[in-house]
Subunit: 278 residues, 2 copies
């Protein structure tokens, strides 16, 4: 397969750098073609601003959505952004690796999303009508591809459990899984998570590396998180509300958007598959 | 009161710029002292990297948490970061204004959080023991202060409703409200939200401006979102799990961390107070 590995950590000689090296070695051993976007090493520009839209009239107030739409349509986005779009179209699998900082992506990676996920490419795609609300949430230009997060977390796994004080990790990652990646069409694999990342010793690293290699050997066979497709009848259009009675018993909040088991096969719950704690 | 207004949009001649101007005029009319951090205008550096820690040995691999701890303790963080820390300590109220991009803050604002919320200042504060797990979630250096988000959202309000396809807006904002702001001690006011921000006409703007002014007149009296304090008995320590039976009927996910009404007074539900739609 073709794999795009996006890495967002400032220090290669870190736990994140070591896990990345494990991942890249394993992917190469499997014979995959791999491209790496090492955002810090590339000097990636994180913030969206006027310079992202060279064709936008200098006297015109910057309107980001129209500027993104025009720039993508005219292929006048900047070369760094266009190169990432080309990599996303090339790859069968996207892997994003980052440390969880303040319960979200580092700014560097958020800026990769903000700049690369252009209108007409990652959003604003497809027919908007009484029948369809665009090609998104399971449809879109990146449909048929898979994505997975590799995340280090400073805190304890228990603190991110269903009743943990930080909130459940799968809910904290929902805006990325569902909002950033499922939106333009990716199937989302359960994340690889390494908790207590500041306390890793040799044994913990060996266990995490084994777990990560295992996950990378099953990219094609791991069942994705069963998010509901938008245009398949589960949601009223255009209000885009989940129809009554479709949810799993007791589900609320983000959990509403997970489909119940089908054909008697229980889907793997998100974030349960590969979690490692030092 | 003393107000810090952090603004994260690249275009002053925008809906965001116009709402900011409304807000600043109202705050000044009320006689508040206001400092503004206009991140784009300041040329704020969004990404955390080695240059943030000038005292960190150049040969030593960068470890962000220890570097932040040492830098804050030694007052050797960079002057731009130190200036924002001083503003946060000075202000009674923090207002963060931004467009919701990919269901989260723009990279520019995330980078303000990543860099300014230093170890020893915004996290890693207080005693960690069998009895207390640090001063966080309602305690911490910023306790006694209030914070409020002013957010523009491109989509429809219904799509962010409890059953909406994007997920409930109060859950999407939970990582910011609870994870970024309640964590170092702020009380969190319900957000001001302007939906369908790309479709604003004059009437919609006038209504939004009125609503925003109203919210700014009641910064002191608006009841905060009733997040649960960490060290008051609601959570087991050190597992930091919510004790059984404390939740509102039917609550799950992030909603577990809201305290039920006390003394017969129903708390205002999050995100319901001021929402404007074009």
């Amino acid at each position: 397969m073709k794999i795009l590995y996006v890495f967002a950590h400032p220090e290669p000689r870190s736990l994140n750098g070591a896990l990345r090296d494990v991942a890249l070695a394993e992917l190469q051993a499997q014979g995959h073609q791999v491209q790496v976007s090492d955002l810090y090493a590339m000097g990636w520009k994180a913030e969206v601003d006027r310079s992202d839209f060279p064709a936008w009239d200098a006297d015109r107030p910057l309107a980001v959505v129209p500027a993104s739409k025009e720039g993508y349509a005219a292929q006048s986005l900047t070369p760094d952004v266009q190169a990432e779009i080309d990599k996303l179209l090339w790859a069968d699998v996207l892997i994003l690796q980052f440390p969880l900082w303040w319960f979200a992506m580092p700014a560097m990676l958020k800026g990769w999303v903000d700049r690369v996920f252009a209108y007409g490419f990652a959003y604003g795609v497809g027919e908007h009508s009484e029948r369809r609300w665009g090609d998104r949430y399971g449809e879109g230009r990146l449909a048929g591809k898979r994505a997975m997060l590799v995340v280090t977390v400073g805190g304890w796994r228990e603190h991110y459990a269903p009743r943990g004080v930080n909130g459940p990790i799968e809910d904290l990652l929902f805006p990325i899984h569902h909002g950033v990646l499922y939106y333009p069409g990716y199937e989302i694999l359960p994340p690889f998570l390494a908790f207590r990342s500041d306390r890793f010793d040799e044994a913990a690293f060996a266990a995490a590396a084994d777990e990560l290699r295992g996950r990378l050997r099953t990219l094609q066979s791991t069942p994705p998180i069963p998010f509901r497709p938008q245009n398949s009848g589960d949601y009223e259009i255009p209000a885009m509300q989940l129809r009554a009675g479709l949810e799993r018993p007791g589900a609320s909040g983000f959990g509403l958007h997970l489909a119940p088991p089908r054909d008697g096969v229980a889907p793997r719950p998100p974030a349960s598959a590969a979690t490692v704690e030092a």
